[in-house]
């Protein structure tokens, strides 16, 4: 195959072992999310700390730039872990990463990008006010979620269609 094409297909992928690490990080992030949103219904107290921020605007205060601020890192941590874990899972090579798997990967990227934006369009039209904030927050993660689900669904599907020994 053309050298440039091979580089394009393999360049952005991590070794296979990153995948299980990614799942673990995703699991930690998910536990944090469930714990803070559904169990204690708020931020985890001991994660309140001072941190460096580029821009920070608190309610009824002036916007601060490049300052060390006091804040709670629960959602920061949950989001960071989700993105890192999700990227590890999405961008790790399979045990055997052949041309068909590369194709499934690209098809899944295309699919998740499209579905994500159709979903966003729909929510843009029908959700207003503070609830739209929630749409924006969850939409940060939907491309990754949709990709991971669709790619693994395709892997499963092609393992099983018309399979006989």
């Amino acid at each position: 195959m053309n050298k440039i094409l091979i580089i394009m297909e393999k360049r952005f992928l991590l070794p296979n072992r990153f995948k299980s690490v990614g799942w673990l990080i995703l699991l930690i992030s998910l536990s944090l999310w469930i714990y803070s949103v559904f169990i204690i219904k708020g931020e985890i107290p001991f994660l309140k700390t001072s941190t460096f921020s580029i821009i920070s605007s608190e309610f009824l205060k002036e916007t601060e730039y490049f300052a060390v601020i006091q804040t709670n890192l629960t959602y920061t941590l949950t989001g960071i872990l989700f993105i890192i874990g999700g990227l590890f899972v999405a961008f790790s090579r399979e045990k055997v990463e052949d041309e068909f798997i590369s194709k499934l990967r690209l098809v899944s990227f295309q699919w998740s990008f499209l579905i994500n934006h159709i979903l966003l369009l729909f929510l843009f039209i029908f959700v207003y006010g503070m609830d739209f904030m929630n749409v924006l927050i969850y939409n940060m993660f939907t491309t990754l979620i949709l990709f991971i689900i669709h790619f693994h669904y395709l892997m499963y599907k092609y393992k099983n269609i018309g399979y006989e020994k």
Partner: protein, 66 residues
């Protein structure tokens, strides 16, 4: 494009899994090709033909719609 990989496999009495291992692809790839869901690259087609000791045309064949 259609192919007779399944037939060739039966003649050699080899599973999808073993064939996949021999030509270093996934079982998904073999399965997708056998079910006409995937047209392999020229490299892969040549590898398969080489393994079965045939010409590519004896395994892969153009269809009218191609």
């Amino acid at each position: 494009m259609k192919n007779n990989i399944k037939v060739q496999r039966a003649i050699k009495n080899i599973t999808q899994e073993d064939l996949a291992k021999i030509i270093s692809v996934t079982r998904q790839t073999i399965n997708a090709m056998e079910n006409n869901k995937y047209v392999p690259s020229t490299v892969l087609a040549l590898k398969i033909a080489k393994y079965f000791g045939k010409n590519v045309e004896e395994i892969f064949e153009l269809e009218d719609k191609d």
